[in-house]
Point group: C2
Chain length 400, copies 2
């Protein structure tokens, strides 16, 4: 008889996955998955890079690589992060198979069963599932429009000294699902709280490059760039949104003593990340193609966001409240208490449009007062049509 571990018993199929499946049905307009549109990938650029690789570099792409990452990629990524103000000299960089693997490595380094970690509420669903797989207790602290609520956070930490949470996990730039971009003030005021409670910060920055205006551009400076000397911070990033998730490449920039453990965990998990895609990502970054490409993405995602925002204003009842994002992939909307989101989801799917219900992003899996719309992978004409369908669905539910 098979006896499974306690760790695996804490994992459940997330609703997101089922909804991502629906996205494959071409008759349903999907605002569910958090991925780029297939038509946006830089295929031509990668073709050019691949066909210009010398034989010995191609051969290296077939081989095992060093655990920390393919050396030239580590160099060019260090250069790239340095330009963004990150303290690359005092820290070390590890290439991972996406930032989700980096989150897992952090989990494995720090979490013993039943220990507590602090996240935002809502929180990236991948992080919730990863942390739970290390049997962590998750404490979600509410987000407001400027970032994590510091009164709630400080109050919780003051009253949980005996628990001694292992770290705080935040995504300050264009939060998934909330779309929030932290204010400078909020980031600044977080630092003394981290110091006071001796709390490590895990900063996940998968979306920072996808800003829609200059005001937002100025505000995407990572906490690690601003305050990395004052308080320990692990900074996570990803190629998934600025090249392609199919490459499975992300990174972690960490203080040396954390890096050292992270490298050991990475080695025991899968030895190294794929050299084949690391070589392509390196040339894409080093040649300057990445910056040009991301510039193009900003224009396209901004247009998609504007189309979705205009359609929401046109078709959604005013009982649905939301804040227009200044970057990233998502709009996060609040429904009035009398509505039942699960029924709306079902009715929406029957009519041909789908989204993700909010409780997927609640560390406790309960709060269903919001839903997430993703505009990243849907062309503009379909956005308008899908939002009209959802608007009608919600209006009918309101009539009850």
């Amino acid at each position: 008889m098979l006896q499974f571990s306690k760790a695996v018993s804490s994992l459940r199929t997330s609703e997101i996955r089922d909804l991502m499946g629906l996205a494959i049905n071409p008759d349903i307009i999907s605002f569910a998955g958090g991925m780029p549109g297939n038509e946006l990938f830089p295929v031509k650029e990668i073709d050019e890079i691949y066909n210009n690789l010398p034989l010995d570099i191609k051969q290296t792409g077939f081989q095992y690589g060093p655990t920390p990452g393919y050396e030239p990629l580590l160099e060019s990524l260090n250069e790239y992060l340095k330009k963004k103000g990150l303290p690359v000299e005092k820290n070390r960089l590890l290439i991972t198979t996406g930032s989700l693997q980096a989150i897992n490595i952090i989990g494995k380094i720090f979490i013993d069963p039943d220990e507590t970690i602090v996240t935002e509420n809502p929180c990236f669903v991948g992080a919730i599932s990863a942390f739970k797989s290390y049997q962590a207790n998750l404490k979600g602290i509410n987000l407001d429009e400027e970032g994590i609520n510091l009164d709630l956070l400080d109050n919780y930490l003051n009253h949980s000294k005996s628990i001694s949470p292992k770290f705080l996990y935040l995504t300050p730039n264009f939060h998934n699902p909330a779309g929030t971009l932290y204010t400078e003030k909020r980031k600044k005021e977080l630092v003394p709280i981290l110091q006071k409670h001796d709390l490590l910060l895990i900063e996940d920055d998968a979306y920072g490059e996808l800003y829609f205006n200059e005001g937002a551009h100025k505000r995407i400076v990572p906490m690690k760039a601003l305050y990395g000397d004052e308080t320990p911070i692990c900074y996570l990033g990803s190629f998934s949104k600025i090249l392609g998730p199919g490459f499975r490449l992300g990174w972690m920039l960490a203080p040396p003593e954390i890096y050292q453990k992270a490298e050991l965990v990475k080695q025991s998990l899968d030895a190294c990340s794929p050299n084949f895609t690391q070589i392509l990502a390196n040339e894409f970054l080093r040649s300057g193609m990445l910056e040009k490409y991301v510039g193009k993405l900003r224009v396209i995602y901004k247009r998609r966001k504007e189309t979705m925002a205009a359609a929401i204003r046109k078709y959604f009842p005013e009982e649905i409240t939301w804040i227009e994002p200044e970057g990233g992939f998502y709009i996060w909307l609040k429904i009035p208490p009398k509505l039942d989101l699960t029924s709306i989801l079902k009715a929406g799917i029957a009519k041909g449009a789908v989204f993700v219900v909010g409780k997927a992003f609640d560390p406790d899996g309960i709060d269903n007062s919001h839903f997430r719309l993703s505009y990243s992978h849907t062309p503009e004409d379909k956005i308008e049509k899908g939002i009209r369908i959802l608007g009608e669905t919600i209006k009918e539910a309101l009539k009850g």
Copy 2:
């Protein structure tokens, strides 16, 4: 102050990694790392495949894929495994980033801290490190020339009923490091022991395709193909030795109830394996290029093995005993008790040749009576020279 988890405290830098580093030094002839030679990779074939991919398939390569794997690869891999006699209908297939990730998934599914698992002794070093990272107690059972010693295994299991080990991890085909190919008799007699003790078998088959003669070819039939209906078996495989480790692709064929947990763990670990390399591996497999390529590899590795075996006979003293392998990457050699392997390693490196000491493969990290030579990534002229250097080093050590 940072407080690390108990899991990460059990991980140490393995000696192998440092030795792999030495392999990069072109002045030292390395028999250390267990990788293919760079000059052997099917670069031309993959070039042809890449440049013939239609645009929509290339775009799919940039995108997230389903957690179980890229659908067409799952189909062609199922076909491939079916031809090898594996019961693909009654089991399910999961693509992983190398078989090391599959080993981790098994660890996460089954191991709670301080539980026991049984391995061969010696054992694949990646598996040792992965299992330890889940805080398992490892019990290694000695290998003899026909496979794991069944008397020792049965005896141990009879006396450890209160411990109730979670599974047995074996590599029956061209063992790493021992080179052993299990006899049919040994595999057959293992089954009633597994049944009697209700013990799950994890069968790792990374090297089976690399046989050197027809007798060996007949004996590589997986335990899961022969006895999968009689006793639960998870079968692990890899593209690392038959295409390239840089693709980071392996697989697990598991009974449905184990598969279901494995998919959840895979999703929480890194969402999916790289679509980009899965698409290339699929075409390589589907087109028949893989079988042709592996045929070529068998000839080359056999020649390298013969060169190494001849050089050992010529240059090594007869106090060094070993069995000539019939496939795979490795020769495993025993030294007389009076010799100190660490000194020989140091002297060998000083003279220009390197290998891996046996204690790296001992689950307890103690027994240093053997060493591993890999012939897979060294051209024949260098093999002869490197073995001559090691022969001289050992003879000098014997003189004392």
